[in-house]
C-alpha cells in the first residue's frame, strides 16, 4: 500500500434523523493559546524541569552552569534516556520492566568476556551483548503474554535470575567480577568517547533513539496500538491489534536499550562490572513517571519522558555543585516524584475536562 488506505466509506449518507447545522470539520489546530499549553500532558513535566534547573542554577551557581557542569548531567540523562524511552513506551502499553538493571550488567559482562577474556573481535562481543538483551526481552515478553503473570513479577524474577547468572558465570569463566576489555578506536569512538572531552557520545545515541521512538509513538499505527493496549487491552484485541506481538516487541526494545547502555559503559570504562547498572531499575521508572506517563498505562509522551530524564539528571548531578552533602539528592528526588505525579494528575484532569475552548454547540 503506497497511499492512503482508508476503507471507502461503506455507508451512504443515509437518512439523517438528527439533522442540524453541520459546520465544516476543522480538525486543524490554530495557533498559540495558553489553554492549549495548560492542557498539554507534558506541562507538568516541563515545569518540573525548569524548577529544578533554576533551583540548581541559583544554589549551584557558575559551576553548575559551566560546560563541565552541563556535561555532567547531560551524560547522566543520555544513558538514562536510552533505557527510559523504551520503558516509557512499555509503560504506556501498561507493563513494567524491572529487569533492565541486570540486563545492563549481563550485556556488559558478555561483551567483555567474549572480546576481552576470550579475545574475540569486538564486533562479536558487542553483537552478543545486544543479542543477549534481545533474548532477555523476548523471554520477558513471552512469559508475560503467555502466563498472564503480572510483568512486575516476571521482570523482577528476571532481574534477580539474570544478576545471579551474570555473577556466577563471570566468576566461573574469568575468576573475577570485574572483566577488563580494550576497545579498538572504532568501538571506543562509537560507544565510549567524549565529545569535546566532556560530552559522552551516548548523548548522540540518546538523541537518535528519541527521534526514532517519537516517530513510532506519534506518527505510526504502532504508536496508536501502544496507546490502545495500555488504555484497554481487551478492546484493543477486539479491534484486531496483535496485542501479544506488540508487547513482546516492547519488552525486547527495553532490554536492547539496556544492553546498549551496557555496551556503552563497557567501552567507556574499558571493563565490565557484574554489579553495574542496578540503579537504572528505579531511576528509569522515576524519569518516566516524572515525565507524565500514567502508571496504569494508556497515556504519555516522548517529550515528557525526555523532560523526566533531564529533571532526574539535573537533581542527581546538581547536588554536587551546591557544596551540600549529596545524601540530600535522594530526598529531593523522592519529593519530586510525588509532586510530579500529583501535578501530572491535575494536568491530565484539565486535558480531559477540556471542552477545548473550541466546542460551541451541544449535540442534539
Amino acid at each position: 500500500m503506497s497511499h492512503t488506505s482508508v476503507p471507502s466509506a461503506a455507508v451512504p449518507a443515509g437518512p439523517t434523523l438528527a439533522t442540524g447545522p453541520q459546520p465544516a470539520p476543522s480538525s486543524v489546530g490554530s495557533g498559540f493559546s495558553w489553554r492549549k499549553i495548560t492542557h498539554r500532558p507534558e506541562t507538568g513535566a516541563l515545569a518540573g524541569t525548569v524548577v529544578v534547573f533554576v533551583f540548581f542554577a541559583i544554589f549551584g551557581g557558575r559551576q553548575f552552569l559551566s560546560t563541565g557542569g552541563t556535561a555532567s548531567w547531560l551524560n547522566i540523562a543520555a544513558e538514562l534516556a536510552i533505557i527510559a524511552l523504551p520503558i516509557g513506551l512499555l509503560m504506556i502499553a501498561g507493563e513494567f520492566d524491572l529487569s533492565v538493571g541486570s540486563v545492563v550488567a549481563a550485556s556488559s559482562v558478555t561483551t567483555a568476556v567474549i572480546s576481552g577474556a576470550w579475545g574475540a573481535p569486538l564486533i562479536v562481543g558487542v553483537l552478543a551483548g545486544l543479542a543477549l538483551g534481545a533474548l532477555t526481552g523476548f523471554i520477558n515478553g513471552l512469559m508475560v503474554t503467555r502466563t498472564n503473570v503480572p510483568s512486575f513479577i516476571v521482570t523482577l524474577a528476571m532481574q534477580f535470575a539474570l544478576a545471579g547468572l551474570t555473577l556466577g558465570l563471570a566468576r566461573l569463566l574469568t575468576g573475577s567480577t570485574n572483566v577488563p576489555v580494550t576497545p579498538d578506536p572504532f568501538f571506543k569512538t562509537v560507544f565510549g568517547s567524549l565529545i569535546a572531552g566532556q560530552f559522552a557520545v551516548s548523548i548522540v545515541w540518546a538523541i537518535g533513539i528519541t527521534l526514532v521512538i517519537a516517530w513510532i509513538l506519534q506518527m505510526t499505527r504502532y504508536g496508536n496500538w501502544i496507546f490502545a493496549i495500555g488504555g484497554d487491552s481487551q478492546s484493543a484485541r477486539a479491534a484486531g491489534i496483535p496485542v501479544s506481538k506488540v508487547k513482546i516487541g516492547l519488552f525486547m526494545s527495553t532490554s536492547i536499550g539496556a544492553a546498549l547502555v551496557g555496551v556503552i559503559q563497557t567501552m567507556l570504562y574499558n571493563s565490565a562490572q557484574t554489579g553495574a547498572g542496578q540503579s537504572f531499575v528505579f531511576n528509569t521508572i522515576i524519569a518516566v513517571v516524572v515525565g507524565g506517563v500514567l502508571l496504569t498505562g494508556g497515556y504519555g509522551s516522548v517529550f515528557g519522558i525526555i523532560l523526566g530524564c533531564l529533571t532526574f539528571a539535573i537533581v542527581n548531578q546538581g547536588i554536587y555543585h551546591t557544596g551540600w552533602n549529596s545524601d540530600w539528592a535522594s530526598l529531593i528526588l523522592g519529593i519530586l516524584l510525588l509532586a510530579a505525579v500529583l501535578m501530572n494528575n491535575t494536568f491530565r484532569r484539565l486535558a480531559l475536562s477540556a471542552n477545548g475552548g473550541k466546542s460551541k454547540k451541544k449535540g442534539a
Partner: protein
C-alpha cells in the same frame, strides 16, 4: 419479515463447567430491523453477546451468517464477517483522541515504508464527519480526548466507528443503561439511523421502554432460555415487564403487598 436473516442462531447452548448459561437459543436478525434482547441481570444476555461476538464458542447448536454456517474462534472472526459489538461504556479509550480511537487497529497510512505514517489529518477529518452525521455536532476537532465526551457521545463514537467500518450486524450491549434521559434518547435515535441504513441491530437492554421505542422484534431471556419471542405490537408493556420479572414471582409479590397495603397496580 423484510428479508432473509443476516444472522441466525439454531438451538445454541453454552455451558460453563456443566452449568448451562444458555439453553437452546434460536434467533434470527434481519437487515434493517432491531432485535431487542430483554432480560433481567443474570438471564444470559452477556453470555449470548459473547457467543455472537466470538468471545465464547457455543457448546452446541449452529450459527449462520447470511445463510452460511460460521464458527468464530476469536472476536476478530466475528468482526471479519461484519458483526460489531459496542459495549456499555463504548469500548473506547478515554485518554486517546477521538480520531485515534475511531481508527484504532485500522489506521489510515500514507507514504512508503520506512516512512509510512499514520495519516492523522485524514483520520481526524473522517472521524469528525462521521460523528456529525450522527448528530454529534459538539465534536469539531479530531484531537479531542475521548474522556472529555459525554457517555452518549462515546456510544455514538463507537457506533459511528462500527458503521463506518462496514458492520452488518451491530450488537449494542446496554447502550442506554448508564445514560441520562436526554442522552439515551440520542442513542435510540442513532439506533434508528443505523436501522434505516439496513443494518441489523441487536439491542440488549433491561429497559422495556427503550426496547419498545425502537424494537421490531423481541426476545426475552430467563435463566438462559428464550422465554418468549414476539414482534412489535404483539405484547403490551405490562406483559413484557411481567415476563422479565419472572411473572409468577411478581404475582406473588403483588398478592403479598395487597394483603399489607390494599390493592396496588403495577404500572
Amino acid at each position: 419479515m423484510t428479508g432473509a436473516p443476516l444472522l441466525k442462531l439454531e438451538q445454541v447452548s453454552k455451558s460453563f463447567a456443566g452449568n448451562n448459561a444458555l439453553t437452546d437459543i434460536s434467533l434470527e436478525v434481519v437487515p434493517g430491523e432491531v432485535l431487542c434482547l430483554l432480560g433481567d441481570n443474570g438471564a444470559g444476555k452477556s453470555t449470548l453477546i459473547k457467543v455472537l461476538s466470538g468471545v465464547h464458542k457455543p457448546s452446541s447448536g449452529r450459527m449462520y451468517v447470511e445463510g452460511r454456517e460460521v464458527q468464530f474462534d476469536s472476536p476478530k472472526d466475528a468482526s471479519d464477517v461484519g458483526i460489531a459489538t459496542v459495549h456499555q461504556y463504548g469500548g473506547t479509550f478515554p485518554l486517546m483522541s477521538v480520531a485515534r480511537c475511531f481508527f484504532v487497529g485500522k489506521e489510515p497510512t500514507k507514504g512508503v515504508w520506512p516512512v509510512r505514517y499514520f495519516d492523522k489529518k485524514t483520520a481526524g477529518d473522517i472521524t469528525v464527519r462521521e460523528m456529525q452525521k450522527l448528530g454529534i455536532t459538539r465534536v469539531t476537532d479530531g484531537n479531542r480526548l475521548v474522556g472529555s465526551l459525554s457517555g452518549g457521545e462515546r456510544q455514538s463514537l463507537a457506533i459511528a466507528r462500527a458503521v463506518y467500518f462496514g458492520a452488518k450486524v451491530l450488537i449494542l450491549d446496554e447502550p442506554t443503561s448508564a445514560l441520562g434521559v436526554k442522552q439515551a434518547t440520542h442513542v435510540l435515535r442513532i439506533i434508528m439511523q443505523a436501522r434505516a441504513q439496513g443494518i441489523a441491530v441487536v439491542f440488549v437492554t433491561h429497559n422495556v421502554t427503550h426496547a419498545m421505542t425502537v424494537g421490531d422484534q423481541f426476545a426475552v431471556l430467563i435463566h438462559g432460555r428464550k422465554a418468549d419471542g414476539f414482534r412489535k405490537g404483539e405484547r403490551t408493556r405490562e406483559q413484557i415487564t411481567d415476563l422479565m420479572a419472572g411473572g409468577e414471582a411478581m404475582a406473588e409479590l403483588e398478592a403479598e403487598l395487597a394483603e399489607l397495603t390494599g390493592p396496588i397496580r403495577v404500572p
